[in-house]
């Protein structure tokens, strides 16, 4: 069961275009021309949700949970 996250997802259909512009609650952005693809990207969070370039260079997109190998 997925617990509520209390987070906001937003998708703007850009006026004058067919383009959807999505913003995840984490700040990641994405454009698409298909709402199904957009929601797949959105709900895939954090997969593929790199922060915008100017934000701090975060760790690589990780597909597995933090491993404890850094612990002494």
């Amino acid at each position: 069961m997925s617990a509520p996250t209390g987070e906001i997802y937003r998708i703007d259909w850009l006026p004058g275009t067919d383009v959807l512009h999505g913003t995840c609650h984490c700040g990641a952005e994405h454009t698409a021309q298909d709402p199904v693809e957009m929601w797949e990207w959105m709900l895939g969070h954090p997969e593929g949700h790199r922060l915008q370039p100017q934000s701090q260079p975060q760790s690589e997109p990780q597909s597995q949970p933090q491993s404890p190998e850094r612990a002494p």
Partner: protein
């Protein structure tokens, strides 16, 4: 299998309007559960009980009240407002299991909400508000239509108002509705989907032209707030083209109409469509009230006919038919997903009895 959205249990649903619950027993089936409603004499509070007599399953809603007790119309088993059987004919011993389920009920904003699920989880604070339905300064017209369609089809219908242009042309639809891009926002934790469509310069549809008296083109805003699973609010603002709210947030020159729906799943393939139109303008004008009532009823029936037809059509399709979603469906897809989550959360480890 025809189109079928699973039910989300452990949620509040609108069962009736306040004025429908009185001293006549009212039967409504909600999420597949037959329920009977009445208003207790004792304190005026609405009561919701299971609608099948434990004896031979006679519908209690077809029975009678004796004070605040229901006397089964078949052999007289008598139930108090908690659902406990307090009398059976001919004998002193009342079987201990003789009781019908009692459901938590809240009456608020002129709506009677019932909880379907585990009563221990019912939190009245979780019920979304629709204060305009019962506030001074607002006038409301309303009705309820049962539809022979999956409730998911009604959610789809209401979340995508581009259909106004085609299904409701000449009433509330104009070309600009379908042409204008939307923004969609999902508040995951609160279970709210917001869909907004702001038309800067649009034709005024007859529904508003004839009721407000605006002759020319309009600025028309539609801001949807869907509180899954049951309550749908459409905040509508229209004004002569270019007339915007004041800098201080007041809006003396805008016409505000609150369009409210309660989407209450009845049984598989059946939904109650509660519709309400509230306005803060011309509130005392009986002619406007009657016009909005009859015009909106016509609009609702256009949807009812379309959804009845759609359900029938989907029912004749082979399994696994395809749909094709485009930009206008962004909000509807969000609502489907939220509903799927609520369904999952409402499913107890206990399997549903079939």
């Amino acid at each position: 299998m025809p189109h079928m959205t699973a039910f989300a249990r452990n949620q509040w649903y609108v069962a009736a309007y306040s004025h429908e619950v009185g001293r006549e027993l009212l039967g409504r089936t909600i999420l597949g559960e037959p329920l009977v409603f009445y208003r207790a004499k004792e304190d005026g509070a609405p009561v919701a009980l299971g609608d099948r007599c434990v004896h031979r399953r006679y519908p209690l809603s077809e029975s009678g009240l004796d004070g605040d007790r229901i006397v089964c119309g078949y052999h007289g088993f008598t139930y108090d407002r908690t659902g406990a059987c307090v009398y059976v004919p001919g004998q002193k011993r009342i079987p201990r299991t003789a009781r019908v389920a009692s459901h938590p009920v809240v009456e608020q904003d002129s709506l009677v909400w019932v909880w379907v699920g585990d009563p221990a989880l019912a939190d009245p604070q979780a019920i979304p508000r629709a204060r305009h339905l019962d506030s001074p300064g607002w006038t409301t017209v309303r009705g309820m239509e049962p539809i022979d369609a999956d409730y998911g089809l009604l959610v789809d219908n209401l979340l995508d108002l581009s259909h106004e242009t085609y299904l409701h042309g000449g009433y509330i639809g104009t070309p600009e509705v379908a042409e204008t891009p939307i923004t969609t926002e999902v508040d995951e934790g609160a279970g709210i989907v917001r869909v907004s469509r702001h038309m800067d310069d649009a034709e005024c549809p007859p529904f508003y032209a004839r009721s407000t008296g605006i002759a020319g083109r309009i600025t028309r805003w539609q801001d949807i707030e869907y509180h899954a699973p049951c309550l749908y609010l459409l905040h509508s603002r229209i004004a002569p083209v270019g007339v915007l709210p004041e800098a201080d947030g007041s809006d003396p020159n805008g016409f505000h109409t609150e369009i409210t729906y309660a989407i209450t799943p009845s049984a598989d393939g059946k939904v109650y469509d509660f519709w309400m139109v509230s306005r803060d303008w011309a509130t005392d004008d009986a002619e406007v009230t009657e016009f909005l009532r009859s015009n909106n009823h016509t609009v609702v029936m256009q949807d009812v006919d379309a959804l009845n037809l759609l359900q029938k059509t989907l029912g004749s399709e082979r399994a696994g038919y395809q749909e094709l979603s485009i930009n206008i469906d962004t909000g509807g897809l969000a609502a489907r997903r939220i509903l799927a989550r609520l369904v999952e959360e409402g499913d107890k480890p206990v399997e549903k009895a079939l």
